[in-house]
Structure formats: structure tokens, C-alpha cells
């Protein structure tokens, strides 16, 4: 049997995220342009596989069979794979897992993983209304479960009650992520800053969340190139960043199937992390930089716990200790994360991957010194599913 090939991330780019005066295809072209700037040697003919991750494209952009539409606009002619994939907020991170498998098996050599959403419509009601279709429609959505803040507000209340987590600790996550994301030119809130006073004094969205505890919904697109080590070396002179391990775990689709003792425990994330660490032959202590799914400030707190970066229940104290800041134990969301860079569902996983790629190649805006191993994480579907990918400057032996 032929030796398994090694999959690497070559580079990538995003469109400007935000409330955009643009179609989904405009933004995909912008992301391709940014990806091309990041990998100057890359030509359309180098790419033999395309995965487009999107949730809203069927409804908001009337583009149900999305992949051929993307192929045409990006000038591609894939021969190994050409698919659309949807796992909501984890779309392009899921696509990276698929690309890794395709490359290691030899089916593909160079896969373009893209993610894109056009969220904002001419009338604003439509965005919240469409959210009813991304949950378990006949059961949870008919109860009114649409936009995420109420559900995550209950998660936060329970974490505060069980573990003593405070609003100040949650605000620390938002303030920290602004110190990073303010310098990301394509971020939804790039150029903006946030103080503790502003965070704690913001208008309430859903108790206990103020405005800055919640990530925005964003229009946007991202594109990354995942390739075999051999092809990657032909496309770039930069150091190789290997996809070491992945894990994806789902246990339920709706509120009745919650796997934890309470909403404050996320055992399905713990499991996804354990699978990824095992495959990567690493432990949480090895990770130098992380991109976790900070859809809400409390999410980052719980994710640091369940991924094993601190003890369960100590996430609040961990973030205020400076652990997630530059120079801390695990600088997290160093490009601003969802809270500042924004969240076009299908595009977020690839955006995280780009930041980890840059960190491990020593070229991030907020560079973690000597970063060797990085991790990305998405949750999706009202916290029904968790997706973890681990990268390293050395392949798994």
C-alpha cells in the first residue's frame, strides 16, 4: 500500500466581513482575490477540487446547487471533487476535514475550501426569520427558537450559577478579542476598540448578555488552499503547516437531546477535542494558539474548559488571568474571533484556519512567539455539533 500523503494548509484570504453591499458571488470573488494575493504562485488550473460551505445560499441567494456556480465565477475546472457542504457555523471547518481525507487518500492534490454567506436582505426581518429554518424546524423552531442569543443566555446563566462565572469575566473575553481584531483590516468591526466600561455598560441583548457579548451576523466569504505536501512546496516557499488531527462530534439535533448534566456542560465538545488530540498525537498543553468559536463571550469561556486548556468551571478565572492574551498560556482568537472579525456562518472555519496558518508560519498580525501547534474549533446548530482541527509545523509521525 502506498504511504499516506500529508495534507497541509498553504494559505488563504477573506473578503471584507460585515453588512455588505455585495452578492454572495461578489464576496467569493473577493475571497479568491485575497487568497491569490496570499499564494502568488497559485493559478486556477492548479486547483483540482472545490468545496463550498454555505447555509444560507439556498434561501438568501437562490443558489441551491452552489458548487458549479462557484466554479464558473472562480475560473476553476475541478476534476477530483466539486461539492457544496453545509454544517451551518462549522461549514468550512468541516470542509477542511473532508479535504484532508481527500488529499491523504490521493483522490485530490489541491483543494480550494471556500465558505460564504449573504445574510442581510433588503428587509431585515428575513435574516431572523431564516434562522427558524436552520434549527430543528418542526420542534424547536416552532417554539420560537430562532436567533441564538436566548439559548446562549440560558447557557451563561447556568454557568454563572454553577461555577460563579461573572459578567466581568465574560466581558474580559470581548475586550481581549477587540485588542486583537481591531487590526484585522477585513474584520466586521476592524478599527474599533472596546473598554471594560463600554462592554459592561452596553445595552442588554438577552440577560446576561450585553451587545459586546454577542458576535454579529455578517456577510462574507473566505477561501483556503489545502494541498498535498508535494504540491504545496511547489506553490509556496513558506514553511509547511500540517493538518495533524481532526474530530467532529454530534449527539442530537434539538433541545431535548442535550448531552450535558446542565447547559453549562458541553461533553460533546470534550469528546470532539479528545478525538482530535488523539489523532494529532498531542495534548492541550502542546497547543500554542487557538481559534475557538466565540459566538458569545461565554462560549469561549466554556470552550477553553472543555478543550482542556483549564479545569472545568475555571474558565472565567482563566480568561481574566491573562491566559488568552498575548504572552499568556493560550492566546485565543488572535484575529478577533467571531466577536470582532464577524460571523458569516460557512466562512468562519476557513477564516480561523487562515489565522492559525499565519501564526504557525510566523506572519500573523498579533504573532505568538514560536507557535508550533494551533487549534481551530467551531460549534454549530444551537451547540448541537462540535468540530476541531489541529495544525502543526511538523506532521504526525
Amino acid at each position: 500500500m502506498a504511504e499516506k500523503k500529508k495534507a497541509v494548509i498553504v494559505g488563504g484570504g477573506t473578503s471584507k466581513f460585515g453588512v455588505r453591499q455585495a452578492t454572495i458571488f461578489d464576496m467569493l470573488q473577493e475571497a479568491m482575490r485575497a487568497c491569490s494575493d496570499d499564494i502568488p504562485a497559485l493559478k486556477p488550473t492548479d486547483i483540482d477540487g472545490l468545496i463550498i460551505a454555505t447555509t444560507m445560499a439556498g434561501r438568501h441567494s437562490s443558489a441551491l446547487n452552489t458548487a458549479p456556480l462557484v466554479v464558473h465565477r472562480l475560473g476553476l475546472s475541478p476534476t477530483s471533487i466539486c461539492i457544496r457542504l453545509d454544517t451551518l457555523c462549522a461549514g468550512s471547518n468541516s470542509a477542511i476535514i473532508v479535504a484532508k481525507g481527500l488529499i491523504e487518500s490521493g483522490i485530490s492534490e489541491v483543494v480550494l475550501v471556500t465558505g460564504a454567506e449573504k445574510v442581510y436582505m433588503p428587509q431585515r426581518w428575513e435574516t431572523n426569520y431564516t434562522q427558524l429554518a436552520v434549527n430543528d424546524h418542526d420542534w424547536d423552531s416552532a417554539m420560537g427558537l430562532g436567533v441564538p442569543p436566548p439559548f446562549f443566555a440560558m447557557i451563561a446563566k447556568m454557568h454563572m450559577k454553577r461555577y460563579g462565572t461573572t459578567k466581568e469575566q465574560m466581558a474580559h473575553v470581548s475586550v481581549t478579542n477587540y485588542t486583537y481584531g481591531t487590526d484585522s483590516p477585513n474584520a466586521h468591526f476592524g478599527g474599533r476598540t472596546l473598554t471594560m466600561e463600554q462592554a459592561l455598560g452596553a445595552r442588554i441583548i438577552a440577560d446576561p448578555f450585553g451587545l459586546y457579548d454577542c458576535c454579529p451576523l455578517s456577510d462574507g466569504a473566505s477561501a483556503v488552499v489545502i494541498a498535498s505536501e508535494e504540491r504545496a512546496k511547489e506553490l509556496t516557499d513558506r514553511s509547511m503547516v500540517y493538518l495533524r488531527g481532526t474530530g467532529q462530534h454530534a449527539t442530537h439535533s434539538m433541545s431535548v437531546g442535550w448531552p450535558g448534566d446542565t447547559l453549562a456542560e458541553w461533553p460533546h465538545l470534550k469528546k470532539a477535542g479528545e478525538v482530535a488530540f488523539k489523532n494529532a498525537k498531542l495534548t492541550p498543553k502542546d497547543i500554542d494558539v487557538a481559534e475557538t468559536h466565540d459566538c458569545f463571550s461565554i462560549s469561549e469561556v466554556i470552550e477553553l474548559e472543555e478543550l482542556g486548556f483549564c479545569k472545568k468551571g475555571e474558565g472565567g478565572a482563566f480568561v481574566t488571568s491573562g491566559a488568552i492574551n498575548m504572552g499568556g498560556e493560550i492566546p485565543t482568537n488572535t484575529d478577533g474571533g467571531l466577536l470582532v472579525y464577524g460571523h458569516p456562518f460557512g466562512a468562519s472555519g476557513a477564516r480561523q484556519a487562515i489565522e492559525i496558518c499565519k501564526q504557525l508560519q510566523g506572519r500573523a498580525i498579533h504573532q505568538v512567539k514560536d507557535a508550533n501547534f494551533g487549534l481551530t474549533h467551531n460549534l454549530s446548530g444551537t451547540c448541537a455539533q462540535h468540530t476541531v482541527v489541529i495544525y502543526g509545523r511538523e506532521p504526525v509521525e
Binding site: R59, W125, N128, Y129, Q131, L132, A133, D136, H137, D138, W139, D140, S141, A142, M143, G144, L145, G146, V147, P149, P150, F151, A153, M154, K157, M158, K161, I204, I205, A206, D207, M254, S255, V256, W258, T262, L263
Partner: protein
């Protein structure tokens, strides 16, 4: 005249007078479209039900056509408890999806150790903002939701629908 036309909100002309199931917040509950129609018929009779597996005894929620534990299709309808306790709750003052009034109150409910249904995220109706507290008891309640048409040959049949939520226990 021109200015009046400008002020008018223009809809989606091709869909004028049509029913768009894709944009419906309620389920298609009728027998013509859903094998779980007995759940909704039972709601109309004031019963909160689900399917129990005759092979392994597992009680699933939501109900199904097979048992998710052993994949048997020999199932029977059984009743679920109609009272629950509020573990935590949330009140959405603004930004509730179209079709849901504000404040939209939702609660994480627990049905007790003996219940086959442990937890449910339930909407709370007939309740004022600030009225419901953690630890309060709530009860199952059924209400009418909008009907929808189905084309049956050249005729149009109207399907009446209901849905369920929870309300505070009368003190």
C-alpha cells in the same frame, strides 16, 4: 400618484395569494405530508404524546417512524407528563422572529427523574414579562395556529393546525 406608489411596500408579485410552506414557521401536520400526524391529532385532544418502542421499550422524543435506539418500526403512542419545572429562562424583548410576539419567553424545563423526557426548551405563553421565576412549575397548553391549503386534484383542502407550549401553573 407617483409618490403614493413609492410609499407602498411592494411584495413578491408571483407569490401573491399563495401559500409558501418553505416560509412557514409551523410544521406540515396533516396526514398527506407527515407520518407523525397522530402527534398533532393527539394535541387537538389535549394530549402530549410520543412514540414508544414495542421491542426495546425506549421512549423517544420527538416521535418517529422507527426507534432511534434499536431501529425497530414497531411503535406505539404513549402520553408524556404535562407538568415541568423551570430550570432557567430567557425573555427576548426585541428581535424575536416574525410571527412570535415580544417578549418571547423560553425556558429550559425539567420533567423529573421518572419522565422519559428529561429536558425540553419550551416556549412559555400566557405569562407576563418578569412573572416567571426559576423553580416555578409550568403546564402544557395547546393553541390554534394558522391553517394552510393543500391542492387535492382541482380542489383546495384546508388543514387546521395546533401547536403546544407551556404556561405558568395557576397559583
Amino acid at each position: 400618484m407617483a409618490d403614493e406608489n413609492k410609499a407602498e411596500i411592494v411584495g413578491t408579485p408571483a407569490l401573491d395569494g399563495t401559500y409558501v410552506a418553505e416560509m412557514d414557521i409551523w410544521p406540515l401536520e396533516c396526514q398527506e405530508f407527515n407520518r407523525l400526524y397522530p402527534f398533532y391529532d393527539n394535541l387537538k385532544a389535549g394530549k402530549f404524546t410520543t412514540t414508544k418502542c414495542k421491542k426495546c421499550g425506549h421512549i423517544a422524543f420527538p416521535p418517529g417512524v422507527i426507534c432511534p435506539k434499536c431501529w425497530s418500526d414497531e411503535l406505539e403512542w404513549v402520553e408524556l407528563p404535562q407538568r415541568a419545572k423551570v430550570v432557567t429562562l430567557t425573555e427576548t424583548q426585541a428581535g424575536a422572529p416574525l410571527g412570535f410576539p415580544s417578549p418571547l419567553i423560553m425556558a429550559w424545563l425539567t420533567f423529573g427523574e421518572d419522565s422519559p423526557l428529561k429536558h425540553l426548551l419550551g416556549r412559555i405563553v400566557n405569562c407576563k414579562e418578569g412573572e416567571l421565576k426559576e423553580g416555578d412549575e409550568v403546564q402544557f397548553v395547546v393553541f390554534d395556529v394558522p391553517s394552510h391549503p393543500i391542492e387535492v386534484k382541482k380542489e383546495t383542502k384546508i388543514c387546521d393546525r395546533v401547536f403546544y407550549a407551556f404556561e405558568p401553573m395557576k397559583k
